[in-house]
Structure formats: C-alpha cells, structure tokens
Symmetry: C2
Subunit: 242 residues, 2 copies
C-alpha cells in the first residue's frame, strides 16, 4: 500500500523549505527532517488517493514501509492531524479523515470567508495574471479531456484568488482546506461534469476581476461557492455508503 522504498525522497512534494538565518547572519537552507519527509510522503499519497478516507494507518506498518522508526511516524501523525488530514482516535489509531455532511458545509464556510475577502481586496497585476493563468489552464485541460488536470486547474484558480491577499497564513489555511477537499473527491469520485460546469463561471469571475469590478467579482464568487457546496452535498448523499 505504501511505497516500498527504504527511505523517503525529499523533493516530490512542495515541502516547507524553511530558510533560517544563523547567528552570524549566514543564510542556511533547512534540510527537511525525516519526520517532515514522512509527513510529505503521506500527504502525497493522500492527495493521490492512494489512501482513501477511513483507511487505518498503523504506526508499525508505515514505519516499516518507509524504513523509519515508530516515533518518527508518530511525529508525522501529529502534524497531519493538525491539518485534519487524519484523525487520531486515542488508543485506537489514526485514520484517513473523511468529510461528513457537516464538514463540507464547514469547509465551504471557511472558503467563503477567505476567498471572498481576498477578492474584495483585489491584488497586484501579477496576482491577477496568476488567476487568469489558472482559468486558461482549465480551458486547456477541458479541451484535452483531462479531467484530472481540470480539477487541478480549478484548485489553482481558487488558490490564486486567495494568493491575492499576499498573506502567508491565509495561503496556508487555503492549502489545508484544498487538501481536505481533495480527500473528499477521491472518496466520492465526483464526475467530470462537476468541473466542466464551472469553467464559464471562472471565466466570468476572472473578467470582473480584471476589469476592476472587485465587489461584483466577489459577489459572483460567493454565489459560485454556494452553488458548489450544494452540488457537493448532493454528491455526498449518494456517496455515503457507510
């Protein structure tokens, strides 16, 4: 189930390469710890759908698979739990998180707050260009019939919107929220129609943004998110087979 490589590579996922500054002022690139690489590897497998919601993650198994100690796996679990990607049940183990109906609403509440706020504040020309780029990326993916890429492009679109605020904390929150949603998509196997439906909306919102009509763009975005939540809630009703 997990990779059989003895040691986890350190560059597959965009890691938090925190650059520190030593006492003398020399710049020092922080090498990711083993625990971080384990967390990265698990995050990757979660994003790819290799580990589906509800799956149990046994410490010893993962430790062996990745060739690290149990304690190290444990540290990674604490981190992933704080990102809500896994849930820790005391004395029972950790499980891949699974979004319930209430969670979907909650996630969208966060997205509405963050995305709409970022949109209302607008961003630099470069930021706006990044939003446009994500829209075009989506069009290309749709033309090529690549549904996987279409979903990715959509996430880029919303990520670019939040990035306009230029806030590391908002970016990180948004990243976590999108990671949570990815988890859900793999469980529910949302069909491609889901994304195609929103291609035009993205274009419209982007146009409003580019013409400086921030309030209108924000309202459109809000409506978009409301509709998106409704759609996903329906999907959830069908998917909840447990």
């Amino acid at each position: 189930m997990a990779s059989s490589e003895p040691i986890v590579p350190s560059s597959r996922v965009a890691a938090n390469h925190a650059a520190t500054r030593t006492a003398a002022g020399r710049l020092r690139v922080a090498v990711p710890s083993v625990a971080d690489r384990v967390a990265d590897e698990l995050r990757l497998q979660l994003a790819e759908g290799a580990l589906l919601p509800g799956t149990r993650l046994t410490e010893s198994t993962i430790a062996e698979d990745l060739g690290v100690s149990r304690n190290t796996v444990r540290e990674a679990f604490v981190e992933l739990a704080s990102e809500r990607l896994v849930v820790r049940h005391p004395n029972r183990g950790v499980f891949v998180a699974s979004l319930e109906a209430g969670d979907i609403h909650d996630v969208y509440t966060v997205r509405r707050a963050i995305e709409v706020s970022a949109m209302r504040a607008g961003g630099s020309p470069e930021n706006v260009a990044a939003v446009r780029a994500a829209v075009e990326e989506g069009k290309r993916a749709a033309a090529a019939g690549d549904d996987e890429a279409l979903g990715t492009a959509n996430q880029h679109f919303h990520g670019a919107i939040v990035a306009m605020a230029g806030s590391p904390r908002l970016n990180s929150i948004m990243g976590q929220v999108l990671a949570e949603m990815r988890l859900f998509f793999h469980k529910a196997t949302v069909d491609a129609q889901f994304y195609h439906h929103y291609l035009k909306d993205n274009e419209t919102i982007c146009l409003a943004l580019e013409s400086g009509e921030l309030d209108r763009a924000a309202d459109l975005l809000q409506a978009y998110l409301d509709r998106s939540e409704d759609n996903l809630s329906e999907v959830h009703g069908e998917a909840g087979t447990d």
Copy 2:
C-alpha cells in the same frame, strides 16, 4: 521557569476533549494523552506570559520539569509549531514565536477575512447575546480597573463574533490567531489605553448587530480592525528592542 509539578494536570485549559464513538456505538470520552497535557501546559504558560517570545525551549529541561520523556515533549512541540506558537529551527531548537511587523499585518488580514465574513452572515439570537455579553464583560472590567480582564473581554468579543458562523474550523483558526496575538501583547506590554479606546467601538458594533444592520456592523468592524492594526504596528515599532 516551568512548573515543578511532576505531572501535568489535565483540566486547567480548555482541552480538545474529542469524544469518540466505539464500534458498538457507545460514547467514549477521550482522556487527553500526556503529550496533549504537555502541549496544554505550555500553551497555558505562553498565554500567561510565563514564556516570553524568543525564549528557547530546551527539550530535556521541559521533559524534566514536567516529568515526561523527551519524545513526548517533542510531540507537543510539533503541535505547538503547527499553531505557530513556537518556531522550530532545525538542529537548533524551538523558540517561543515572536510576531514581527509583517506577522501583525498578516494576522489582521486573517482576522478581517474571518470576522467580517462572520458578521455579514449574522447569527442566531443566542450568538448575538454572546457578543453582547462580551461587551458588558468589557465594561465591567473597565469599571473595575482590571486591565487584564479587559483584554480578555475584548478577545471574547471577537471570539463571539466568529462563533456566529457556527463553524468549528473558523473557531479553531480564530482561536489560534488570538493565541498568537496574546503572545505579542506579553512582549510589547500594550498599555491599558489600547483597550479602553475600543470599548465604545465594541458597543457601537454590537448595537448595529443587534438591530440587524449586518452590513453596517461589518463595515464598522472592518474599520475597527484597520485602526487596531495601525495602533499595534506603532506599538511594535517601540517594542522592537532587538
């Protein structure tokens, strides 16, 4: 510096008493793990100002002080780092986080997004009553000349605003942000005037909320946060003695 009690009590801070459900459906109250209690204890000391920003937290020292093993302290550190209350410098140690000028702006960006959004959506009568209660709590504290309580009341006020959204995730984000700000206040020793100045604003905002003028209340809140950020940035300029 740290408590000399051999074991950390488990009830001093509002812990995440995650209630699990066993296979048979029986409800099970999760007893906080030692690592969680260590994290709670450190959170408490950080909130109380017993550990000032920049302070180094040595693993072995804390392990001895609290009578737990280094590995357990380590787990607590991972958690606190994910909340940005401490910063981990690889191979150098963990330090109590310290808000720089950019961080203050960033924190307020998050607050604007979350609080204003919650205010625009409004809340149930109970939620509004909680906001009112926080306002009155602040008045009482001011009348009693208790500056500490005044600051707490102010945080309750903003916490209650976010709570209107009824979103666990937003509440948790807001909790973290407020914890970060508490850290800053202890370093900068903001004077009492800072809070007194905002007593009237809280009242005004609360009135607008109670009369159902959500958009106006949201605008007032936004202006409030802008001003608050400016004030704090000034304070930061004076406080940054390093």
